[in-house]
């Protein structure tokens, strides 16, 4: 059988559909259209929430850094945290803008490329947040104690304690990578945990970049 024979079958199928399917206009008229969630809406809301939460963090850290700019013991951890918060905020704003500008009526390859790029960006952000969090909690503790409680953390936290915490962060990081790879294909965990493991291990990223490559190949003249 040839593809053109299938075209004839398809035309018969088309004629059959004409008679056999009906649009439930009553359901759509009951203003369901505006109430029902489309797939990307939760993502858009999540990005907005993340971005909104990051704005006060950037402002507070910026203010703290400004107040302690002459004291490296506070300025360095604050600068580290601020750099991370700005990077996350920047990624969030870019993702939100990309999502808002997405026109589903554009050619399929254009839309799919943008969606895949957005996905790559989301996965990279998640991965870096997860990987850096064990290393950033010591600076967070220093800035938090000084900034929120007004107590000098160095009065009771010595250099050994700080070094031990950084080391502990590195160990946690290695363990996280090991766990994510070891349990990646077990498929027994919840979808949320699986997504986290996939993000840390780079599997989600590989899948998203693979889709981008697939689109690029499809675009190329054969």
């Amino acid at each position: 059988m040839e593809l053109d024979d299938l075209k004839v079958k398809w035309a018969q199928y088309d004629a059959k559909l004409e008679k056999s399917i009906r649009l439930n206009t009553r359901l759509l008229r009951e203003s369901r259209l505006t109430r029902v969630d489309a797939a990307l809406r939760p993502l858009s809301r999540w990005i907005v929430l993340e971005t909104l939460l990051n704005v006060p963090a950037v402002l507070l850290l910026g203010s703290f850094l400004g107040d302690h700019i002459g004291e490296p013991r506070f300025a360095v951890p604050a600068a580290l945290l601020l750099a991370c918060a700005i990077a996350i905020l920047n990624a969030g704003i870019r993702q939100w803008v990309a999502l808002r500008a997405l026109d589903y009526g554009a050619p399929i390859l254009v839309v799919q490329k943008r969606l895949a790029a957005l996905r790559v960006s989301r996965i990279r952000t998640t991965k870096w947040v997860l990987l850096l969090s064990p290393l950033l909690w010591a600076p967070l503790l220093i800035v938090g104690i000084q900034g929120l409680v007004g107590v000098d953390p160095y009065a009771f936290l010595d250099a050994k304690w700080l070094a031990a915490n950084v080391l502990f962060g590195l160990v946690v990081l290695v363990v996280m990578l090991w766990i994510s790879r070891r349990y990646l294909d077990r498929g027994k965990q919840s979808p949320g945990l699986q997504r986290l493991l996939d993000s840390i291990a780079g599997r989600s990223l590989a899948s998203a970049t693979g889709h981008l490559d697939e689109i690029a190949r499809f675009e190329q003249e054969l």
Binding site: L3, K9, E18, I21, L27, D103, G105, P107, V111, Q220
Partner: protein, 172 residues
């Protein structure tokens, strides 16, 4: 002079092209529940994108783009089951009991056709549906975002693959 409300006009256009919804959903989803969800997502996205629709363009071309874009994203989404909210319980597209058209209830030829389409990747699947629906290479290229000559070459490859497929089945 009275003007038709946007929702009425939208529903009339949607009704006129309802087969696109059905064909795309059938090509990208194997089970009935997913097909119903996908149809709903396509309709919502069509409605939300309507303000951007250029009246000079063909509605069917625009509808194919949106339907296929949503279907490919739906198909690829790993988390759609956990993200779904506010599901509509009733189906937007009703199949009349007298003459069912779902692939599992169709003739052998149509089933075979759907099996063949189902074996293709998402992008080639879109291309085949557009080709079978009688669109020109130019229109297919416009919908997909590739050149007409690229469409021609890809259709040629798919024809070749189909021929081999059928030969293999016939020789068994």
């Amino acid at each position: 002079m009275t003007t038709t409300p946007p929702q009425d006009r939208f529903l009339a256009l949607l009704d006129e092209h309802r087969k696109i919804l059905y064909k795309v959903a059938n090509a990208y989803c194997r089970n009935a529940e997913d097909r119903r969800d996908l149809v709903q997502e396509i309709v919502v996205q069509l409605w939300r994108s309507l303000p951007r629709f250029d009246e000079r363009a063909r509605f069917s071309t625009w509808m194919y783009r949106i339907a296929m874009n949503v279907a490919i994203s739906f198909y690829r989404s790993e988390s759609r089951r956990t993200q779904r909210t506010e599901l509509v319980e009733e189906p937007i597209l009703e199949t009349l009991a007298v003459d069912r058209a779902a692939p599992e209830e169709s003739s052998d030829d149509i089933r075979q056709l759907h099996r063949f389409i189902g074996e293709l990747d998402e992008l080639n699947r879109a291309l085949v549906i557009l080709y079978l629906d009688g669109n020109s290479h130019e229109t297919i290229g416009e919908i997909l975002g590739i050149s007409a000559s690229n469409v021609g070459t890809r259709v040629g490859r798919i024809k070749e693959r189909l021929r081999k497929d059928f030969d293999r089945v016939a020789n068994r």
